[in-house]
Every structure is written in structure tokens, then in C-alpha cells.
């Protein structure tokens, strides 16, 4: 803009000087000579002015061309020519502190979520482990009771077995309890059971199948003297109120 104004100002100046020169020249003697010289000067000035105007127009055209090509590049970019790592036009580069904060928030939320999941899984696993230990302990206790009998206090022993049992196993045992006590007393049975090994075969929240290997040493009036007998058992333990009790005892053939 400054370029176009300057030449026009200068040409205006030259025009006014031309006019004042012609005014002063008309009063002296040779007006024709003077006026031709004056005309030549005016033509020169006008030509210079035209050249300068042309140059200004060329500059303006060039600027317009430049703007158009920029615009084309922009539309090209919008139409998907822009590679993914180049920001779309008009999108400012985010401030580094914003980027850092976003990354920090993602890291914090991600790690806390991960930690939460790990803790929850660990809690579930240890609860499961604890439950399996309770089932095992109940199976062990029940089988020791079942394999330990003394004719001197047979009734108490049998009652202990019943207390450690539940469901149909308990009902069956209770029904045969009196006969059982009688046999133990008449044959003077002393049986001492010990559990040799246990392992939980399967487990749900309220029930488990526990493999129990027990050894029973039996002494009786029929001649047995601490004769050992190994029992390979499969024991079902179920929850009965707040306790775990024997629900089924099988000898595995």
C-alpha cells in the first residue's frame, strides 16, 4: 500500500509544479515554445505515473495469486491430503502443560484402576484359599472323629461324629447310632484315627469334595492289636449354619 501511495503523491507534486510553471510561462513572450516544453514535461510525468501504477497493479496481482494458492493448499488439506501428524489448519498446538497434565491423569487413573483390579483379584484368591483351608480342617476333624472310637466312652464318641455331620449322612448315622455303640462296647474296640493327607478336589461357596487319606489303628477283642488300616476317602463337606460338616464319606475303591 505504501508503495502505491508514494508514487501518486510524487506525481501529484510534479503535476502542480507543471501547472505553476505553465502559469508563469504564459505571461512571457514565447507561449508556443514554452507550452510544448511544458506538454513534454506533462507527458513524461503522466507516463512515469502510469508505469508506477502498472507496477503497483502487478504487485497486487502477485499478492492475490499468492493468497489463492494458500487457499488451495488449505482446502486440499481439509480434503484428507494432510498426513495424520500434521495439525488440521486452525488447530493450535496444545500447550505442553496441557499435554503433560493429560498424560499424568491417564497414568494415574490407569495405574489406580490396575491396582484396584489386582487387589480385588488377590482378595478373591485369598478368600478362596482361606475357604479351602476351612473345608480341609472340617474334613480332617470329621474324619478323625469318625475313625476314633473307644468302647469306654462310645456314646460320647458317636455323639461327636453326629455333631460333625449334616444332611442325610447325619440322619443315617443317627439311625444306626445305638447299634453302633453296642458293637463298639461289646467288641471292646479302641480305634485311633489319624489323617495322613488331604487335598481339596473341588469347591463351591458352600460345599467341597476333599480327598482324605486316613490311617486307623484298631484294637479289639477279636484279636486286632493296633492293626493299621489305610482309608482312601472322598469326603463331601458342606456348610451347616456357620460350621462346615461332613455330608458324605466314601471309600474310594
Amino acid at each position: 500500500m505504501g508503495d502505491t501511495k508514494k508514487p501518486s503523491g510524487r506525481s501529484g507534486e510534479s503535476v502542480t509544479t507543471g501547472v505553476t510553471a505553465s502559469a508563469s510561462d504564459t505571461e512571457p513572450d514565447s507561449p508556443a515554445e514554452e507550452s510544448s516544453a511544458d506538454l513534454q514535461a506533462r507527458i513524461d510525468a503522466a507516463e512515469a505515473e502510469a508505469a508506477e501504477a502498472e507496477a503497483a497493479a502487478a504487485a497486487a496481482r502477485a499478492r492475490v495469486r499468492a493468497l489463492r494458492s494458500d487457499d488451495e493448499a488449505a482446502t486440499e488439506a481439509v480434503q484428507g491430503q494432510r498426513p495424520w501428524y500434521r495439525r488440521a489448519p486452525g488447530v493450535r498446538r496444545p500447550r505442553w502443560s496441557t499435554v503433560a497434565k493429560t498424560v499424568a491423569v491417564l497414568l494415574i487413573v490407569g495405574s489406580l484402576t490396575g491396582s484396584g483390579i489386582i487387589l480385588w483379584k488377590h482378595h478373591t484368591a485369598s478368600a478362596r484359599h482361606e475357604r479351602s483351608e476351612r473345608f480341609t480342617a472340617a474334613a480332617r476333624e470329621g474324619i478323625v472323629a469318625l475313625t476314633s472310637l473307644n468302647f469306654n466312652h462310645a456314646k460320647d464318641d458317636v455323639q461327636r461324629i453326629i455333631d460333625n455331620s449334616t444332611g442325610s449322612f447325619r440322619d443315617d448315622f443317627q439311625a444306626r447310632a445305638d447299634d453302633f455303640v453296642k458293637v463298639v462296647e461289646t467288641s471292646k474296640v479302641v480305634a485311633q484315627g489319624t489323617v495322613k493327607a488331604t487335598a481339596v478336589q473341588s469347591m463351591s461357596d458352600d460345599s467341597a469334595v476333599v480327598l482324605v487319606v486316613a490311617e486307623e489303628q484298631i484294637t479289639n477283642s477279636a484279636g486286632a492289636k493296633k492293626d493299621p488300616r489305610v482309608l482312601r476317602l472322598s469326603v463331601t463337606v458342606t456348610r451347616d449354619g456357620d460350621r462346615f460338616k461332613l455330608a458324605k464319606v466314601e471309600l474310594v475303591p
Binding site: 499424568a104 494415574i108 490396575g114 491396582s115 489386582i118 483379584k121 495322613k196 487335598a199 480327598l211
Partner: protein, 183 residues
């Protein structure tokens, strides 16, 4: 008095605000860094102390320990005179440590002479199995095994029931039998 006192107050208040802002500009990023480091460290610690050990003690770990114990026990207790050397070398691949040595001694001194003299065939089957103990690097599996044996002298198979506590050790990510104890 108040007009004279006012300017000094303003003068002291203005320079105080600038360090406070500068302090906040240092504290806020520090708090962010502490939070990030704390939460990532927590995750790393839990990963190392809970997640990785737990993963080696879950149901699928139990299953793989039981499978290894079963396969190994069956391999150890199943052999026939006709195929004796191959049966033994196959069984050895399931064993490790002291038990491998004990097995070799037992086979060479007690079983091989009999197996090569008479025609003997034993077959073991696992009827029940359960994990008794499971740690990331060791396990104990209780097996109820039935074994049938027939010899040239006594072709009618005789069967024996036993229960065995098989202890396993993880070697290069694979369960191998390190002890084999009849209960």
C-alpha cells in the same frame, strides 16, 4: 496516619504475591509428579508382589500341576517287559532332582532284573486327584492310584490301590516330579 501507612502495606503485598505465584508454579507440577510416581509405583509393587504370584497359583496352575503329576505317576508306574527301556526313558522325562536319582537306582536294582527275567506288565490309572498345596514354584498333588500287574507266572492281573503324595517343582516353567511318597 492511615494515609501514610497505606502505601507500605500495598508495597509489601505486591512483591509477596509474586513469589507465592512462583511457588505455586513449582508446587503444582511437583504434586502431579508425586501423584504419577506414587500410583505407577503402587501398580508395579502390586504387580510384582500379588499379580504375578497369584497368576501362578490360580485354577489353571492347579490344573497344569495335576496334569503333570498324573502323567508322571502313570509313566513311572506303567511299564512292560517288552518295552521296558522305552517306558523307563519316557518316565524319566517327568522327573527331576533327587527323585530322578532314586528312580534310576530303584529301576536298576529292583525292577529291571525282574522285568527282564519274567514277562511283567503293569498299568497304573489315577482314579482321583487333587491339589494339596500350591506355590508359584512348588506343588503337592494327592493321587489315588490303582495299579494292575500281570506276570508270565501269574497272568491273572492283580490290582493294588494306593495313595501317593506327588511333589512337583517348576523347572523352566514346567512341572516336574521331585518326590513321590506313598501315603
Amino acid at each position: 496516619m492511615t494515609a501514610e501507612e497505606a502505601p507500605p502495606i500495598e508495597e509489601t503485598a505486591a512483591p509477596e504475591a509474586a513469589p507465592r505465584a512462583r511457588l505455586a508454579g513449582k508446587i503444582v507440577p511437583a504434586v502431579w509428579i508425586v501423584l504419577v510416581v506414587a500410583s505407577v509405583s503402587l501398580l508395579a509393587v502390586l504387580m510384582y508382589t500379588q499379580y504375578l504370584p497369584d497368576r501362578e497359583m490360580n485354577e489353571s496352575a492347579e490344573q497344569s500341576a495335576m496334569d503333570a503329576a498324573t502323567k508322571g505317576a502313570v509313566a513311572v508306574l506303567t511299564y512292560s517287559s517288552g518295552n521296558f527301556d522305552r517306558d523307563v526313558s519316557s518316565a524319566r522325562t517327568y522327573l527331576t532332582g533327587d527323585f530322578l536319582g532314586q528312580y534310576d537306582t530303584y529301576i536298576q536294582t529292583a525292577v529291571a532284573p525282574v522285568a527282564k527275567q519274567k514277562s511283567i506288565q503293569t498299568t497304573a490309572t489315577v482314579v482321583r486327584r487333587a491339589v494339596s498345596e500350591l506355590r508359584p514354584e512348588s506343588a503337592a498333588v494327592l493321587l489315588y492310584i490303582n495299579q494292575t500287574t500281570s506276570t508270565a507266572d501269574n497272568p491273572a492281573p492283580s490290582s493294588a490301590a494306593s495313595s501317593v503324595m506327588v511333589r512337583l517343582t517348576k523347572v523352566d516353567g514346567k512341572w516336574l516330579i521331585s518326590s513321590f511318597t506313598p501315603v
